[in-house]
């Protein structure tokens, strides 16, 4: 079976969708029930800054690969 590296990005993208959903729910809870105070402002800012930092580091490390390259997985139980 042959597939390109870019296929690996599909589950990663699915994770990012779920992650974004949880981020929105968290921020909604904090602003709706915690109000807008200096603490909620800084907590939101630091949380989003952390996400940007992790996303940026991931991008920088992943961009170096050729995502069009293919990989072949051999069928181990084919004994011919």
């Amino acid at each position: 079976m042959t597939f390109t590296y870019s296929l690996l990005l599909i589950p990663y993208a699915l994770f990012l969708v779920v992650f974004a959903l949880f981020v929105i729910i968290n921020l909604f809870n904090l602003t709706r029930f915690g109000g807008w105070t200096i603490i909620t402002f800084w907590a939101t800012f630091l949380f989003l800054a952390g996400i940007v930092l992790i996303a940026y580091a991931s991008y920088e490390n992943l961009i170096i690969f050729d995502w069009h390259q293919t990989i072949t997985i051999s069928n181990n139980y084919d004994l011919r």
Partner: protein
């Protein structure tokens, strides 16, 4: 939304305390987060010495990087959720009532209130080394004919809070018997 709007503050009502758990309680979550953040670093050094082929092959490097990214985003999100859980757990004491607001992870939230004039007894305790060092503990509030309903958990200065609640309850009882005094 302000605190007053959240609790639908009455005209004559004044907020006396807005209590949360002592900040030292959240430090535990910070330490757990920091420990979890070092796991991939430890794994990297382990793989470098014991499983070098894992870091040499391009496909395994890609998979490890994607998993690492998912891992860090997940622990960051869990850490933030823990903060919200800590921050949104409130006990609000006004000159009329006590409110207990609890956040349960992402989707659960309970609000309960108790009239101050119904408070019969309040006890406070500080138990353990850390609570003694940082002066935090629990305040148990009892009403007549009911089992204990409210517990302020791990709040700062529990003895002072208990005294204040008993004073406020006494004041509120006077108001209920002689309404013109407020």
């Amino acid at each position: 939304m302000t605190l007053g709007e959240l609790i639908k503050k009455k005209q004559y009502e004044k907020i006396v305390y807005c209590l949360r758990r002592h900040p030292i309680i959240f430090v535990k979550d910070v330490l757990i987060f920091l420990a979890l953040a070092t796991v991939p670093v430890g794994f990297y050094f382990f793989a470098k010495s014991s499983l070098p082929h894992l870091l040499e092959e391009e496909i395994s490097r890609i998979i490890l990087l994607l998993l690492g990214s998912i891992y860090y985003l997940s622990i960051w999100l869990i850490f933030f959720t823990q903060f919200i859980d800590y921050y949104l757990d409130n006990w609000i004491v006004t000159n009329d009532r006590i409110l207990n607001i609890k956040q349960h992870a992402l989707f659960g939230r309970t609000m309960a209130e108790m009239d101050l004039y119904k408070v019969q007894d309040a006890t406070s305790d500080i138990d353990g080394i850390l609570p003694t060092l940082f002066n935090y503990g629990n305040v148990h509030i009892q009403t007549a004919g009911q089992k204990e309903r409210f517990v302020f958990e791990q709040v700062k200065d529990p003895h002072k809070i208990r005294d204040k609640i008993l004073d406020l309850a006494e004041e509120d009882r006077k108001f209920h018997y002689h309404p013109k005094t407020r």
